[in-house]
């Protein structure tokens, strides 16, 4: 390839039947993301663990808005689940060329008191499952020369938060994985990025003290839709040259 060809090679555009899987899409950031991606033209596999009702609601909202979606359920922490979910999404919608690894759990405890189960559960769902889904989608995306992977990390990880050693380890791990996978597959038209949400108004943060907002320069919690917009951008063709990056969506918390 000549230098000129390298310089002028146009980025691949998203195929019309491209499908993206959003995990944890029965509520909160995942549901808002699924809706936003559908509006942007993706066919959306609405992933859920226990919240089948929420996932059905997300699918209904997407369909009412004129998009296409299908709910795919399963415990993503189980071995083999990633490939099953992706295959199910592909059978129903189209080639799965994207994934938003959003599903996450918390099991907070001071490190001294953190049990093996609390550690394992958070790492399994927040990190290991994200890797397995990424791997399953990469096999298809690399072949298609087009793909979008967005990992939902957190301000916790890059920044400390007492009581969340497991969560911080998983989310930091996601950011490290994002960078490494990004450089592996960049030349195949596949981008891999992360978002790092701060204090977002969801069920996961409902029990957190509002005093925490004093640490947020914006002085308000973020809305799930504000995170969804950032994810949607990274998953779009507008972000074709953005890869390996982490976009902080945190009202200035990490600045």
């Amino acid at each position: 390839m000549t230098e000129t060809e390298t310089k002028t090679k146009a980025p691949a555009l998203r195929p019309t039947d491209a499908t993206i899987l959003v995990t944890g899409a029965g509520a909160g950031i995942g549901a808002a993301t699924a809706r936003a991606l559908a509006e942007d033209g993706w066919l959306v596999a609405v992933g859920y663990g226990g919240n089948a009702e929420g996932a059905a609601e997300t699918v209904a909202q997407i369909e009412q808005a004129g998009g296409r979606a299908h709910a795919v359920g399963g415990d993503i922490g189980e071995s083999g689940a990633a490939e099953r979910l992706v295959a199910a999404a592909q059978d129903e919608l189209g080639p799965v060329l994207g994934v938003v690894n959003n599903a996450g759990v918390r099991a907070d405890n001071l490190a001294m008191s953190l049990t093996d189960d609390e550690w394992d559960q958070v790492i399994a769902t927040n990190l290991t499952a994200a890797f397995r889904l990424t791997r399953a989608v990469l096999k298809r995306a690399v072949k298609a020369r087009y793909g979008r992977i967005v990992n939902v990390a957190s301000v916790v990880g890059p920044r400390a938060n007492g009581g969340q050693a497991n969560y911080a380890a998983a989310k930091s791990g996601l950011i490290g994985m994002t960078k490494t996978v990004a450089v592996e597959v960049a030349r195949r038209g596949v981008t891999v990025n992360a978002v790092a949400p701060g204090f977002i108004d969801t069920a996961m943060t409902a029990d957190l003290p509002r005093e925490l907002l004093e640490n947020v320069p914006a002085r308000r919690p973020g809305r799930p839709e504000e995170v969804a917009d950032a994810i949607c951008f990274l998953a779009s063709d507008r972000a074709s040259y953005v890869t390996g990056s982490t976009l902080w969506v945190d009202g200035g918390m990490g600045a």
């Binding site: 390839m1 096999k139 690399v142 072949k143 592996e184 597959v185 030349r187 195949r188």
Partner: protein, 80 residues
């Protein structure tokens, strides 16, 4: 699908071309390095031959694969 040398050669050549190697440069004696074939390409080739012939190529195999012919022979051998 039977893994004849001819068939495997066609599969490998097609894959190498899709990775960006010039068709005119691809032959049994060409080194993978000269064709600019790297570890990601080999991982993708591995996926192709696994789907087509049920043959698994490991990342450690890459060290012994110097030429296109080496890759073809290894795949044919494993498919037996």
């Amino acid at each position: 699908m039977p893994a004849t040398t001819t068939d495997v050669e066609a599969t490998v050549n097609e894959a190498l071309e899709s990775f960006g190697a010039e068709a005119a440069d691809i032959n049994r004696d060409a080194t993978l390095e000269s064709l600019d074939i790297d570890s990601l390409d080999l991982a993708e080739l591995s996926q192709v031959v696994e789907e087509k012939y049920g043959v698994t190529l490991k990342s450690t195999d890459a060290e012994s694969l110097k030429t296109v012919g080496n890759a073809i022979d290894l795949i044919v051998e494993r498919a037996k």
